[in-house]
């Protein structure tokens, strides 16, 4: 017994010593300076939570957020090329953190998803019959908009960070060098400076990432693919009539198309196409499919002349998203596969902030306190790929697709019934739950039994057919 106690003491002493060594060299102390490159959600969340944590432990640090864009600008100038969905789980967690999205930031509260397939459509209501998904504009709004009564989501988050004490520098960081063992930033106007910690919160296309890859610290940016984002003007009334407060998702049998969504905002709807190197040909095939045309007024000429773009999006995580006094968060670090990019920005930004304040800013500190958060997202993405393969299978096979529709429609129309398929699809589309949870539910015996029963019903045309879901999405 005594022997065990002695061993414990020795171990604790060794651990404390090791921690003490690091604390003396690479810890944030009063007056430490932090540079955050990129003022999108990841940069703002990091700054906000780091300053909040610092306040709790009586630590006074300076944060400079370098962001050349002005998010309150309309059109491409402030755009972040994103669908702009704040997931159900993130809305809840932000509320817990005291961040309540104001009405002028929320373009629309989403209360349902309408799933469109080649065999029909079904509406999936939010599990608690409550609007907990927010459709937002990351920037000021589409090109051509003026006098809008809404606010940019990214600007709102940046304002929260500024309120906590961060400073925004509207400058473009062009290079970074090491001076006396600290990162030194250079801006296009000659400005810059030395910092105790540099946080890279840029998009995955930022040229600065080339510089970091070449530095030999082991960082390698995430793999990407091309997506498509476009805005369509409906007008408020027409939008309420055609799309309502529902996000419309499309699982159509179009090669290379993984997932597509039409997200109603205030007067516009944002269309997002995700898949394998989306190009103009695929976009036009999609826009001309009958299921998509149903979501537009009959006489509408659907074109991509509106505000649109083909952004590169992450489909993997960065290798080694940290070094001594450097950490990569959000898209330049790791994000969730196809979904909930803002949620991943929150999780990585907050994890890095906690690591920096409570652990330290050395590579070892980030390995111990930040890497687990990134690894968790990466592992979940790996499971997500399996879930998406299952989803692709159901999309490609008419029988499975009809079974999925039947099962979902029955669940939606029968009060009190266990919503196996609805909850899986809901979480798959909204990004509200980890892919791991979704996968477990897909493998549960009760789900498989229910799926088999519905498959038999579809194959042999027996059982009660669900009532056809009509195109009445308005309020």
């Amino acid at each position: 017994m005594l022997h065990i106690l002695d061993r414990k003491k020795q171990l604790a002493s060794r651990l404390m010593k090791g921690r003490g060594d690091k604390e003396s060299s690479k810890q944030l102390t009063n007056g430490s300076r932090i540079a955050v490159i990129g003022g999108g959600p990841a940069g703002s969340f990091f700054s906000y939570f780091l300053l909040r944590m610092a306040e709790k432990v009586d630590l006074k640090v300076e944060i400079d957020i370098y962001e050349p864009r002005r998010f309150d600008a309309f059109g491409p100038g402030g755009c972040n090329h994103c669908g702009g969905i704040v997931s159900e789980s993130l809305v809840q967690i932000l509320a817990m953190d005291g961040i309540h999205l104001p009405r002028d930031v929320v373009q629309r509260g989403i209360e349902a998803y309408v799933l469109h397939t080649d065999d029909g459509q079904v509406r999936i209501e939010t599990p608690v019959h409550e609007k907990r998904i927010a459709a937002v504009y990351r920037g000021g709004g589409p090109r051509g908009t003026s006098g809008a009564d809404w606010r940019s989501f990214d600007q709102y988050l940046l304002d929260q960070a500024v309120e906590k004490g961060a400073q925004v520098r509207h400058r473009l960081v062009t290079d970074m060098v090491w001076k006396d063992g600290q990162p030194f930033l250079l801006c296009n106007d000659g400005d810059g400076g030395s910092y105790d910690l540099m946080v890279v919160a840029t998009g995955v296309n930022n040229r600065l990432l080339d510089r970091f890859e070449a530095m030999g610290c082991g960082y390698e940016r995430p793999k990407t693919t091309t997506a498509f984002v476009s805005e369509f003007h409906y007008g408020k009334e027409l939008l309420n009539e055609t799309l309502g407060d529902a996000m419309h998702v499309f699982l159509l049998d179009i090669p290379r198309l993984e997932f597509a969504a039409l997200i109603p905002k205030s007067t516009y709807a944002t269309m997002c196409l995700l898949g394998e190197d989306i190009d103009n040909e695929l976009v036009n095939t999609f826009l001309n499919s009958p299921e998509v045309r149903k979501c537009f007024p009959e006489d509408a000429r659907i074109s991509t002349n509106a505000c649109h773009g083909f952004p590169r999006i992450n489909i993997g995580g960065a290798s080694q998203p940290f070094a001594d006094r450097v950490v990569f968060i959000g898209d330049s670090g790791v994000t969730r596969l196809y979904k909930d990019g803002i949620g991943a920005a929150y999780r990585t930004g907050k994890a890095a902030a906690i690591a920096a304040v409570l652990g330290g800013v050395s590579a070892e500190d980030f390995r111990r306190h930040y890497l687990p958060a990134c690894s968790k997202i990466s592992r979940d993405n790996a499971i997500g790929k399996l879930a998406l393969i299952a989803n692709d299978f159901s999309r490609d096979k008419g029988l499975i697709r009809r079974t999925m529709l039947r099962m979902t429609a029955n669940e939606q129309q029968t009060p009190g019934v266990n919503r196996h398929m609805s909850s899986i699809l809901w979480d798959l589309f909204t990004g509200s739950a980890p892919y791991r949870d979704i996968m477990f539910r897909m493998l549960s015996p009760s789900f498989i039994a229910s799926l088999m029963w519905n498959l038999l019903c579809v194959m042999f045309s027996f059982g009660r057919e669900p009532v056809e879901v009509k195109q009445e999405y308005g309020n």
Partner: protein, 125 residues
């Protein structure tokens, strides 16, 4: 109804939670004012009011007891429901979320202590 609201809308006098009911979620007031009613059924007394940003029902996260009080909207209110599962999942990987909850509970305990001290002082006087 505006389309840019989040949460669930409650009409004046509508109850969000009722004392004695089982609960597995907590709530955040997004807008409006609500009252907290305690005491025996039929003889409830207002023991507090809740406004924007206030949270309630957090006890359901930690214990399996039934709701200890009724919360009712005084005027039109929007309230966001927070799932127990979502919160516990976050608390597991994010100490700040737990810290926020502890802060809220501390504030509430301090307020109760103050009220108790006032009551005792009034009794002694």
């Amino acid at each position: 109804m505006a389309t840019n609201n989040l949460g669930k809308w409650y009409a004046p006098q509508e109850c969000v939670v009722i004392a004695g009911e089982a609960g597995n979620s907590m709530f955040v007031v997004l807008s409006g004012t609500l009252e907290v009613l305690g005491g025996e059924p039929g003889n409830e007394q207002r023991i507090g009011t809740l406004t924007e940003g206030d949270i309630f029902g957090e006890m359901a996260l930690f214990e399996k007891e039934r709701r200890s009080a009724t919360v009712r909207a005084l005027d039109e209110a929007f309230v966001l429901t927070l799932d127990k599962r979502t919160l516990l999942r976050r608390i597991k990987e994010d100490p700040l979320v737990a810290l926020n909850l502890i802060e809220t509970l501390c504030r509430r305990t301090r307020k109760l202590n103050g009220e108790l001290a006032q009551l005792r002082a009034a009794q002694q006087a």
